[in-house]
Symmetry: C2
Subunit: 679 residues, 2 copies
């Protein structure tokens, strides 16, 4: 699915042509969104009254002498998905979208969010809240400059802002005599009080060795080697992102939906290892694993979660240098380390190492994708049979594919909330159906399914768009051009360490050519039983260069407002390419697609495809047959096997010739020759 | 020609696959480069002894209590090309390349430069100087950390470092207890003394209205409008780059070779305009133009060049906000403006406005390119006739094409030192021949000519690579793939405000596919009778997004070390594209190539080209015929006209069919039908 990390969506709004690819909200009278212009205002039923919590918050603000309070949508670990107890913005505003920033002043309450969420915000917020249709820090800062007089203070919880984000605010306000005040007590939490969901108590468990790429001791040793090799010789690495600790120690938890992580920090020094976590939650096996080599440099000291700041502060008193990733470390932790003891990079060495999967991790992810393909193929066949009967809606479809996945070996649930969108709903890229509002699937509409699973051996994410009836020529052209983009990027050969940002336009070229585009990123990294959006891999400006062993999604799309939406998403592994002239030189790379589900033939207009694209498609289909076919047979899914055979037929040479030449040219050529022959 | 701005070359070394595309220096014994391992060291004849100046510099360093002194290759305006009096690095080290950084410590003298210049550095430097083969600020900083003990000082001239570059050094040294000390007296200048070339005295002249896009008053009013619209309401804009003042006031000078600019600064406030320049050098017309509307807000106060710092400092005492471009403003000027009075952007509004040519500027540049094409066509024909006679060498060729340009209307010289490189010399992308060493042109070798002119109406820059005999299949393939890259980028359709960085890989794809690449940027902006490398337009990460009205070169290449070099360079205008489905929506853009010289048919292997590429080529050739043909006839260059007709013949349909299908496929198809027909 398209990534929705905050760093992603800032970029979305930058994207040229975004306004076209992205559905705009019509302002016509609707019963499902609020109307604050009438008296009394019209509020849809889902809206909650936020007056009480806003009043209480403003009293706290007065106490702290601040004129504005900024409330982000993330947690202390800069997580994309957050637990209920961290959903402060949702609690104070009613808005539950994953990206947004709230600002409460003495008189106003304003939410900034991106285009995906404008409608949702108007559905969920009452008229205490104003909606601002952008997500740029700069525009929030400019708004603050207008609203807050010089000499006054703006409050923030320093543990909810990364250093980079904090600095962005500081830059806009610089020299303006408005002061950013870090307030360590979170004011929303103070108001939320006992109503705030408690800390999780579920077990944190050890991932069996079968499913890990290396032991945690090997991983720790590797990170320590990187510390030694760094020119500033850091004496410690501080880990703040939840994926970092989960990956490093081969532990998993379920503190956050869809993401098998747990609240924690770690401080890894040259001689010690501290894991900050609620120790009572560690399973016996987990604790044994962490303590197996105690005492010694590979002994993990388990310390309480909320002790991290004091511990880092104490550590930083010594003759030390602490290596941090500025994208994931909060200003609150950063602030306790003296400037001259900081070693900064955008991402920590753990984040960077995790991004490159070793041979075993690659093998695990590949296998998970075969299993996942079976579920998706079962679902596509089921849809083919049931949609014409009129018995499937978006919600029941989503539930069905989720069920198919859950039945698979090693499955631990879905990797995100399944997107199941029919007709015009698919034009909203992050639409998820609910039990209450769910559109019936029909042979007269396109249908988009974006779903993924969490398996012990890998995380998956795949989107297929289908049509069971007669698509319009424009729908076929749009689908085919999205597919061309997917293929052009997937088959690209490029030098090692090329930045994804530099090559992602290959996924757009076929659309651009006719004035079409899409308004989201082209792909994101993915974990081994970790996050479905795993940074810092992907195709955006703040992603790191592509190297062998990285996994990324490739997911161009096209969205026609009020009509339909298309996305074709595969997960691909970065592999070495064999080139004609590059032998013996620096490595060239390409992608190996590991998602193994054929595209909808009904939507492909073969005449748009080049010979190279068709060759690529046929080779990919052959791979699907080879890898998924035996698994379907093994599971005795005969009908699915036949479906697979049917849907992976190679595109025929006749079609190929016409397509690559341009139909007219070859037709004239052949007819110039044929008459005599037939005469 | 490939740009060599410092911001460019930092990127070169980043480029994946760079090592392949770029010629490496063999270390075998050669008589033209130094050998510091022998005793006494072997020094080629061009080397000058730098012992005296280094001793003198070290004495000054002692006086200022610094352990290292950093010497950049630029001037106080961050110019790419500099005047002799600013060639401090060349004077102290012997190395005359345009990109490099010198560091002198009490014991060592080290030069950092990029791969283009490694051989040149070994030819020009004596053994006092060590060569470091990188140009990264970070590696210079790391070296300083190793060489300079904690507690000691590193000196710099604050007027020779942009804010951004200064901050890069500061970041690396942060917390290391090595202090960066700004020393306002330039220590090299103190040592250079009276031997340093004097300030220029030549006239600064007014560019006639025929050759300007707008009056300077219109330009000033436009900039003031941007100041009003800026959310921080800057009260002044400070201009430091020489192109900025030249463009804004429609003035030109000849202080720097190839660049018609003059030493100056400007401070443009909401009510006043100050131009800091040696007033005695202004021509009568220039002075009249500047003073025509005095007194008043469009009256230019001429102040002395060296008063700029004091004036900015005095201005910054008031209730003001000064807008600066951080890429071109030096740390020395920046330092006198209080932090809270600074409005920073990467480039000043003048730099940004200049980058987008208005209709008249576009028309002027187009016309200059027709004139320039005539010169290049004359040259190519002359080569065709004279190379087989063995009467042309690189140097005489360069002189001849320069002469052809100078004879053209409105020509004021060449826009850079002509690159004229035969055989293996062309593998050095910035090779220029000299009177002393110049290779004879031969029908057995490829030849690369990269040249451009300064015309009153525009600056040009074009590269053609040719072969008059029998190129090898690999040479043809490499040339054709470079051409494919040129075409693929030139014909790309993309949304307005797409960053050049995002699309430049289209110029590389055809090479990447077979494991080839090139190690320089893909293009750079170009001025109207200004710089041949005009920032901030281009395809690199620090270039600004592409919008309608920008001009950029498109110049992929391929360099085979020790054998040959290929580059195909055109200048192109960013224009609106007509798209099938994009009508009425946000603009899509494409390129209109304004360089009008056909490519070498002898080097094109048509079987590699797609149908679309061939169509593009034929359309481009038709444009060349239409626009250059009449001009050749008008000048009665009949032989050149015939050459043009011959070299712009459309590629035939027969060739096309075979090429787009892959020769084998169509051959089989046709032969499957033909036998019966012929029977």
């Amino acid at each position: 699915m398209p990534s929705s990390h905050w760093t992603t969506w800032a970029w979305i709004l930058l994207l040229p042509g975004c306004a076209m690819g992205w559905p705009k909200q019509s302002s016509s009278a609707r019963s499902d969104i609020r109307d604050c212009t009438t008296s009394p205002p019209f509020l849809p039923p889902m809206v909650t009254d936020t007056s009480a919590q806003l009043n209480a918050l403003r009293q706290r603000m007065q106490f702290y002498n601040i004129s504005a309070y900024i409330i982000p949508a993330t947690d202390a670990h800069m997580s994309e998905y957050i637990a209920e107890r961290d959903a402060r913005l949702a609690w104070i505003s009613g808005f539950t979208g994953s990206a947004g920033t709230g600002v409460v002043t003495t008189k106003k309450a304003v939410l900034w969010t991106d285009s995906r969420y404008w409608t949702q915000a108007e559905r969920q917020m009452d008229c205490n809240w104003e909606l601002q249709k952008t997500i740029w820090t700069d525009t929030i800062g400019e708004w603050l400059l207008q609203e807050i007089p010089a000499g006054e203070n703006i409050g923030l919880d320093p543990f909810l802002f990364s250093i980079d984000l904090w600095n962005s605010y500081a830059r806009v306000l610089q020299g303006s005599r408005r002061t950013l005040v870090p307030i360590e007590d979170n004011l929303v939490d103070l108001v939320w009080g006992t109503q705030r969901p408690p800390l999780p108590t579920s077990k944190i468990y050890l991932l069996p060795e079968t499913f890990t790429g290396s032991t945690w001791q090997e991983k720790v040793s590797g990170i320590r080697r990187q510390m030694e090799q760094h020119y500033r010789s850091p004496t410690a690495v501080l880990l703040s992102a939840l994926e970092e600790t989960a990956w490093l120690f081969n532990l998993r938890g379920d503190d956050i939906s869809y993401n098998p992580v747990f609240y924690s920090y770690a401080l890894l020094t040259t001689s010690d290892i501290s894991l900050f976590v609620d120790s009572s939650r560690l399973s016996t096996e987990a604790l044994q694993s962490l303590r197996a080599q105690c005492p010694g440099p590979l002994c993990v000291q388990v310390e309480e979660y909320d002790q991290v700041r004091a511990r880092v502060q104490a550590y930083a008193q010594g003759d030390v240098r602490v290596w941090i990733g500025t994208e994931y470390t909060t200003y609150g932790l950063y602030g306790v380390i003296p400037q001259d003891k900081l070693v900064e990079s955008s991402y920590s060495p753990v984040m960077m190492t995790k991004a490159v999967k070793n041979a075993k991790e690659q093998a695990l992810l590949r296998v998970a994708h075969v299993r996942d393909a079976v579920a998706v193929i079962q679902y596509l066949l089921w849809l083919e049979k049931n949609v014409p009967k009129g018995s499937v809606d978006e919600f029941s479809g989503a539930r069905y594919v989720d069920k198919l996945r859950r039945e698979k070996e090693h499955c631990r649930g879905t990797s995100f909330e399944t997107i199941s969108a029919s007709g015009l709903n698919a034009a909203l890229a992050h639409y998820s159906p609910s039990n209450i509002s769910s559109r019936k699937l029909s042979v007269d509409e396109m249908y988009l399914s974006d779903s993924g699973g969490q398996y012990l051996d890998g995380t998956t994410d795949i989107t297929r768009t289908v049509h069971w009836g007669e698509p319009t020529p424009f729908q076929k052209e749009a689908y085919t051009r999205v597919l061309m983009g997917n293929i052009d990027l997937a088959r690209l050969v490029f030098p090692s360490e090329t930045s994804g940002r530099v090559v992602e336009a290959f996924a757009r070229r076929a659309l651009w050519e006719v004035g079409l585009n899409y308004g989201h990123g082209t792909g994101h990294g993915i974990g081994n039983f970790l996050s479905v959006h795993e940074w810092p891999v992907g195709f955006q400006s703040n992603n790191v260069p592509l190297v062998k062993g990285m996994f990324t999604s490739i997911e161009p799309g096209y969205y026609q407002e009020g009509e339909f939406g298309i996305r074709i998403e595969d997960v691909a592994l970065v592999v070495e390419a064999q080139t004609k002239h590059g032998a013996g030189e620096k490595a060239y790379l390409t992608f190996e697609v590991v998602s193994l589900v054929p595209y909808d033939r009904n939507l492909i207009d073969i005449s748009f495809l080049s010979e190279h694209q068709i060759q690529y498609l046929n080779t990919y289909y052959e791979t699907i047959r080879q890898r998924v076919g035996p698994e379907l047979q093994r599971q005795q899914l005969e009908e699915e096997y036949e479906w697979l055979r049917r849907n992976t037929q190679p595109f025929s040479r006749g079609t190929l010739v016409a397509a690559s030449l341009g139909t007219l040219a070859i037709t004239s050529l052949v007819s110039a020759l044929l008459p005599d022959r037939q005469a």
